[in-house]
Each structure stands twice: as C-alpha cells, then as structure tokens.
C-alpha cells in the first residue's frame, strides 16, 4: 500500500473525543427515532400468535371501524404496490407482511395506519387472524431431520454465486451448509493417542439496541425516500429499488446517528414495509418498533456445536472435527453468511493439520436470526475454547501451555489454507497471561466462596469481499467534507474516518466534516458491519484524499507554482478562480482481493483481507451454596493493528466485553411451545452498571496490519470473542464443574455442583 501523502499531520493514534460528543451530551444529536414529518401516519403491526400455520382468514373489520384509523393493510394489499414482496440479503424468502403462511409467532400479519399512534396500536389489537395450525420445528438439531418444512422451496437471492445451486430445493430446512476438508481427519483420529469430544450450546439472544428500529418512508413523485435507523443505507437502497423495479437513483435512504446497532439493523428490516405503506397511503408513514417488537425482528443464532479433537500424548492437536448447527429462525436474513464465514475459523486459532468443518444454517419456526457482533464467532469460540481447556485439564497440561503448543502463527496456513499474516496471536496470548497473572498464586477463596481463573482466545475472518466508496470535497477556503456511507452507531467511525481523511490530506481531523449517510449524496458502501469499516472505508477515504492531493498539485502546476509549493489551499483556489470559488472533488473505492472457497473442500488461499484476534482472561468467585457467579476481573486483549483512535478502540473492547458478559451470564430468549416468553428488558436481563466486574480492562497489543489504512484493522467485534469460555474455564478452575450451555446462570452452576456431588436436583 503506498502512503503517498506528503506530510503526516499526526492524526493517526490521536485519542480525539468523538466529533459529535457535544451533540450527544446535550441531547441534540439526531436520531431517526425523534423524526416526525408533516402529514405523517403511524403504523402499528398486528402479529401472528402461532409459530407455524396457514392463514385462513384475516378479519380487519373492527380495526377498520375504529375512529381515527386511516387504513388496515394486509399482505394481499402489499401486492398492489409490490407484486413480488419477498426480500432478504441471501434469500428472497421473507414477505413484507405474511402471505398465506405464518412461520413464527410474532410475524407481522397486518398493519393499522393512523395519525395517532395510540389509536393505531389499540386497533391493531382488534385484527383477528384465523389459522390452520401446523406442527412447528423449533430446535436446530431437529430441523435437520424434521418432516416439517419452514419453507416449501429455497429462494436464493441470486446476488451470491455460491448460493445459486440451492434455487428451488425442496423438503429441507437447511438454508446453507459449508464444508471444509483439510488433510486426512479419519486417519488422524484412528492414529490418535487421545480423542476428545464435547457438545456445546448457545441460546437465541437479542441485540436490544436502545433505539429500537424505526423508519419513515415518503413516496414522492421522484421515487421514495426512507429515513431509517439502518446500518446499511446502500444495501437497503439496492433492495428497495429491486422490490419497486426502480433505478437506484429513485430511491433515497438516509440515516442519522444510531442508538446502537450491533448487527440488528443490517439490511432491510422494516424499511420495505414502510415503503409499501407509504405507497398505499400516499402519505409519509413511520414505523417505530417497541423494545418488545425488536425481539420478533432479529436475533442472535442459537447454536449446537459438536467438536472432536485428536491429540498426541505430548499435547499436539493433530485433527479436529467441527459440526456446527445454527438456528436461523423463520427467514434466512444474513444467516447463511454467518454459517459460512464463521465456518472458516470454527477450529480456532490453532495449527491443526487435519480439519473437517461442517457449518450449517437451519430454518426453524422461531424469530429470525442474523448477525450479532461477531457473525457466529462468539458461539464458536465458546465451544472450541471450552473444549481446548477440557483437553488440557484431561491431559494434565497447563491450559495456557497447551494453547501455546498448538497456536497458529504468522506464516502458517489457517484451516482454509489462507496464510496467517499480521495477526498477533502470540502477543495477544502473552499479554493476556501477563495481565491476568496466569501461573501466579492467588487467593482461591475458602469455605463456600471459591475463586478461579480462565483464559480463552479467538480468531475471526473479515466478511469478504465487500466494497466501500468515499468522496472528499475541498471547498475554496480549504475546508474538507467527507461523504461516505459508514453509519456511526456508537463505534466512533465518524471520528476515525475524519482522522484518516485528515491524515491523508495533511490537515487536522477537526477541519474535516463528515456527512451523515444519505444515498443521494454519499456513495456506495456495502454496510457498517463485521468490523469492516476502518479497513475498507478507511482505504476508500485514504484514496479519495490522495486523489484530492493529486488534483491540488495539478491545480498548483496549472497556476504556475513550482513543484512542492506549500501555498495554503485557499490561496491556491484564489489563484485559479480569482476569488473564493470552486471545489476539488476526489473519490476512492476499495474492494479487497478474495478467492471464493472451493465448493468441494471449502479451502481458499484468500479467505479474508485480515484476521481479527482477541482473547479474554477472567477471575471469578463462585458461591457454592447458591451457584452465584461473581466476575472479579475481566481482561480483554486484542490485535486491532495500529489503532486510529486508541481511546475509542479501548471503549470498543470494554463495551464488547460487557455485552458478551450479558450473553454469558444472563441473556436468553425463553420459548414455550414456540412462543417467546420474555421479550422485554424486564424479563430479558442485559448488563447494568452493577453487573460490571470490579476490574474490566480492554487493551491492544502493539501490532500493524500492513495491508490496512495506516496499519489499522477492524475491532468492533474482537472484544466479544473470549469472554464466555474464559468465564466457563475460570468456573471450572474454581469449583471443578463444566458448563456446556449458555447462559451460565446461578441455577445452572448450582445444578452442576449438585451433579458433581452425586446429588443432582430433579429436572423441571
């Protein structure tokens, strides 16, 4: 990568406060949540009450007759404005409103429109739906062999070449299965000194961004405008344009700051519904989900992971077989990408000669699962790092030493065959061990309070290949404006990208204004997801700035200035235009090299442009009388390359760790007969300030991603990787019991303790 900028202005590595900090502490930052448009109608959704069934009849008469109701809309009405109303990034399998069939309890069936949201909400309760109920399939393992099928036939979106062969496939609940075959696994198991096999599970969980999904659509003579809390404005535009049969330039998608995203707001969620409603009503329509409704909109995959390793007597892993089954819920969303991309690294950050991976996305009659801060990786690390720890303990080896003996290092091929490069696996483990004080004596507790320590590390490929485009305009006074589609949902991208633009332009980050994503002005970006923006958009921004620099140099030459002249930009414009006038525009785009995995072996020499590496160390205290888990210390270490803004990177790491702490200890979507029982923050417990460990650290190791912009790479997900298994490993260290399912509640620990004593509690 050429660093062609003339002079460094010292913007990289600056811990600049977020550029929007003032707006956020004064309550003035813009969120679509607060937006209202003149003449706007509110939409409230009537949802299905059965997990699987055929719709016999929808009675909207009472709702329709409610004073103040503008209209009641069903799936049949949507057909009048969108004849083929199925959407989705991987499969076109999700109807805008249910058509004929219900695939999960809570699926949108009808919508009431009214000027007063309370009237719309009350009337939505009056929509009566008559079903012919069908048997439901809820468990991901059962989905593989069930004779109940969530979809009659698979409908791949066609955008992805590797899904085309699935078109029209019938009698299956498997939306995608990825297979990797490396070496001779059967032989290695036959020759192994030791073989270990375990099964680990995770439940369905939810992102719960505090700003629930919201969108306002306005149908206009020029096309449609959608104001949305989306993480992917460009991808939403492409999908809405396809649904309406419009050119992209007739669809405008704009956003604002997001009150959290975490993957919940990628691709079309409620935008297509808002657009259809606005077309039908001929007025702007707002959909603002409640916290409860978010649970029926998108979630994190539950999973079952069977993992088996062959190990020599001196502690070398010679083979690993991974069978991962993801519970994708009723619609594919981006689940097939979760299954495939996470499949690349399901065997962990280890150098293993013989690997077999089967990673499978299933349809079930549950709310849809998609991407949540790690694209499946936290589910996998949970399993492989618990498994790795168990092997070390069984063999009487130190768990850290066992990891070191097998650790993947730069210059070695990862399971896919892609070389590991600029990935600080060793430094991350070393720093983790140092910070947690591994191997040093510590207070192990007494009586009913027992303490233990555990570590875990994980590796993730980027979601590849994806494209980012950026534009920079320099005004005649020398001020610069950056136009890019990266959405700031709290990760600090606005600030980091301003720093990258400023560095490349040789000015201060404060002098760069970053335009909020709006597809009318900001160029294409695949989406703010998968920790991709710093690397991909960072490069696009750098290239845009380089084009600006080249044009400024040409302008200087044109006006007769000598090479290397450092005339202020404002003077340069005056020389050229005779007054404060004119604009210089530079653009840059970036798409990394990528080689798709071989269909038969799943191998590829180029799975990802960079690897993300992170780990956690935990010290816990267990109350053996109650099973209560207290996390005393949680240390999180990551390779983020060279951080653009070290302070923001640290908060990303600690924030991700706290989120994963919730997924580890308390969060679970609980179902009874296919009905979600706890869709609210009252019954679904996310971490509060009292759940914070006494010591919580997030730090990076000295590293440089040579292929990254100024040595940087993505970091938003890395802090999640090691948390769950580090805690389970620490619990094992403290009290000698092994938890194999999340969340690790006090009840789960207490039951395990009773089982270990040979005095199990009766099952419920």
């Amino acid at each position: 990568m050429s660093d062609s900028r003339p002079i460094s202005s010292g913007q990289i590595g600056r811990s600049l406060p977020r550029v929007e900090a003032r707006a956020k502490v004064t309550g003035r930052a813009e969120y679509i949540h607060n937006l209202r448009l003149p003449g706007m109608l509110w939409a409230k959704i009537a949802r299905s009450t059965v997990p699987h069934g055929r719709i016999r009849h929808i009675d909207t008469s009472t709702a329709q007759a409610t004073p103040g109701v503008h209209a009641v809309i069903t799936g049949e009405d949507i057909l009048r404005v969108i004849p083929d109303p199925y959407f989705g990034p991987a499969f076109h399998d999700q109807p805008i409103l249910a058509l004929g069939k219900i695939r999960f309890a809570g699926e949108p069936v009808a919508v009431v429109l009214a000027e007063d949201p309370r009237i719309a909400e009350a009337a939505a309760q009056e929509v009566s739906i008559d079903y012919e109920e069908l048997p439901a399939v809820l468990d991901e393992v059962e989905a593989l062999t069930a004779t109940t099928f969530v979809h009659d036939a698979l409908k791949p979106a066609g955008m992805f070449a590797d899904l085309k062969h699935l078109a029209g496939k019938r009698d299956t609940n498997v939306a995608l299965d990825y297979h990797l075959r490396r070496g001779d696994v059967d032989r290695a198991f036959a020759e192994a000194d030791h073989v270990f096999e375990h099964v680990f599970r995770t439940p369905q969980q939810m992102h719960t961004p505090l700003e629930p999904h919201c969108a306002i659509a306005e149908a206009t003579p020029a096309g449609v405008t959608v104001h949305s809390s989306t993480q992917t404005p460009s991808s939403v535009r492409v999908e809405i344009a396809r649904l309406l049969g419009l050119p992209e330039n007739r669809v405008r998608v704009r956003t604002a700051f997001l009150g959290g995203g975490f993957g919940a707001k990628v691709y079309v969620k409620i935008e297509a519904l808002a657009v259809a409603l606005s077309l039908l009503a001929r007025r702007p329509v707002k959909i603002a989900l409640t916290m409860e409704e978010q649970f029926f909109t998108i979630s994190k995959h539950g999973s079952t992971f069977r993992i088996k390793s062959a190990v020599t007597k001196d502690g070398r892993i010679t083979a690993r077989r991974c069978e991962v089954i993801y519970n994708g819920g009723a619609y594919a969303d981006i689940g097939p990408r979760v299954a495939q991309k996470s499949g690349f690294s399901a065997a962990g950050p280890y150098d293993i000669a013989n690997v077999s991976i089967d990673s499978c996305e299933t349809y079930t009659n549950r709310p849809t699962a998609g991407a949540l801060r790690g694209f499946g990786i936290p589910q996998l690390v949970w399993a492989y790092e618990s498994h790795t720890d168990l092997i070390a303990r069984e063999l009487g080896l130190d768990p850290v030493e066992f990891r070191r003996r097998n650790l993947l290092k730069d210059g070695l091929p990862q399971a896919t065959g892609t070389m590991l490069e600029d990935t600080a696996t060793v430094a991350v483990l070393d720093r983790l061990v140092q910070r947690i004080g591994w191997g040093q004596p510590f207070d192990r507790g007494t009586g009913t309070l027992r303490r233990g320590r555990g570590v875990a590390i994980g590796l993730k490929a980027s979601i590849s290949p994806t494209t980012s485009v950026a534009t920079i305009a320099v005004a005649a006074d020398g001020s610069a404006t950056l136009y890019c589609g990266t959405v700031d949902m709290g990760q600090g991208s606005t600030t980091a990208l301003a720093q990258i633009a400023a560095e490349a332009l040789g000015i201060a980050a404060e002098a760069v204004r970053v335009v909020t994503p709006d597809t009318d002005v900001t160029p294409y970006d695949m989406g703010t997801l998968g920790s991709r923006s710093t690397f991909h958009m960072g490069h696009a921004v750098r290239r845009a700035a380089e084009e600006v620099n080249a044009k400024l140099a040409a302008m200087a030459a044109e006006t007769g200035l000598p090479d290397g002249s450092n005339l202020p930009i404002a003077e340069l414009f005056r020389r050229k235009y005779g007054m404060q006038a004119g604009t210089i525009v530079g653009s840059g785009s970036f798409v990394p090299d990528y080689a798709p995995p071989d269909q038969a072996t799943g191998l590829t020499p180029n799975a990802t442009p960079y690897w993300m590496m992170g780990g956690s160390g935990a010290e816990v205290e267990i109350d053996t009388e109650t099973g209560q888990v207290r996390v005393l210390r949680l240390i999180n270490v990551a390779d983020a390359g060279t951080p653009i803004n070290p302070r923001i990177v640290e908060t990303q790491l600690t924030g991700a760790a706290i989120m994963q702490l919730g997924f580890t200890l308390s969060e679970e979507m609980v179902f009874a007969d296919g009905q979600l029982c706890n869709p609210s923050l009252a019954d679904y417990k996310i971490p509060g300030i009292r759940d914070m460990p006494e010591v919580l650290a997030g730090e990076t190791v000295a590293a440089r991603q040579k292929s990254g912009p100024y040595g940087a790479k993505g970091v938003g997900e890395t802090g999640t990787f090691g948390v769950s298994p580090a805690i389970a490993n620490a619990i094992h260290d403290a009290v000698g019991v092994r938890l194999t399912e999340l969340p690790i509640t006090a009840e789960a620990v207490y039951r395990a303790l009773r089982r270990a004593k040979g005095d199990p509690l009766p099952e419920e």
Binding site: A21, K24, V25, L210, F257, G261, I648, Q652, M659
Partner: protein, 164 residues
C-alpha cells in the same frame, strides 16, 4: 376505543429548564411525548417503555423520573429540567464536560439519562464512592457498555463541581 375514560384535555403550567411554560395535554400523554411533540426536546427518549432503562429520564422538582411512565398532567406546577437545560448557553455543565473528557458514551442514546442521573447523584453526594455511583446509576442501561468510562466521568465531574 373501548374502555377509555375521559380524554378531556387540560392545561398544565410548569417551569421548563428555567422558563415558564404551559400546554394542553390529554390525560394519557406521557411526559416524554409532551416534551418531544410540544417543545421539540428529544433528549429524553423512550426506549424500553417500562421505566427500566433510564433513557427517558427527566428531573421533576429535582427528582429523576422515567418520562415514559410519568403522565404529563402530574407535571402541573412542577419544575422540569431536561438534558437540554443543563448547559449555560455555550458553556457545558461540568457533568457534560466530564462525560466528553472521559469518553463516557458510544451511541449516545442513553447519555442524557446518565448525565441527568449523575447531576442528581452529585447533588446528594458531592464525593461519591463506587457503591453510591453504582447504586444511583443502576436504573440506567447502556447497551454499548460504556460503564467503566461512565464511572470515570462521574468521579471527574465530582472533582470539577467540588473545585467550583
């Protein structure tokens, strides 16, 4: 709609961020709705809708309430402070400064609630210990997990306020 009692609107008068205000509200309207729809104040915002997350925090006669559950009619005669009322012109309140300096937020959606609750805490305890901080802020949720930086910000704000 069935079962709805009198919806006769009534006029309420109160002080909003130091300025006398009045408006006509229906008895079912919540404080957060009235602030946003009648006064264009979006700093208090509804998230969980159950009074659990603190995103809708408003100070009513210097007591922090959940604006998503608090009926606007009860604000009649009260003194209301929202996050928009903390800064003195361009000069931020020391708590706001401290939140910026400590990097105590990410997405910022919950920040107004945390800022207001911190002013309430520091009014009661000018030099709070960790346990007091966690106690006062236990009704505010931050899904981005900025808690370590929020605790740092509270301590920094306390120092700023004590220094005057």
């Amino acid at each position: 709609m069935r079962g709805m009692v009198s919806v006769a609107p009534r006029t309420i008068r109160f002080t909003l961020n130091g300025v006398a205000a009045e408006c006509v509200v229906a008895p079912h309207e919540t404080l957060v709705e009235v602030l946003r729809d009648r006064f264009a104040l979006g700093g208090a915002r509804e998230s969980c809708g159950q009074g659990l997350c603190g995103c809708c925090t408003v100070l009513v006669d210097s007591l922090a309430v959940s604006g998503c559950l608090y009926l606007a009619v009860f604000a009649d005669g009260a003194e209301l402070v929202t996050v928009e009322g903390l800064a003195d012109g361009d000069a931020l309140h020391p708590v706001q400064e401290a939140f910026i300096e400590a990097g105590a937020f990410q997405c910022g959606f919950c920040t107004p609630g945390f800022v207001l609750m911190t002013t309430r805490l520091l009014a009661d305890y000018p030099d709070p210990g960790d346990d007091q901080i966690r106690h006062y802020l236990s009704g505010n949720l931050c899904r981005c997990g900025a808690y370590p930086q929020i605790i740092e910000a509270v301590k920094l704000a306390a120092r700023k306020l004590r220094a005057g």
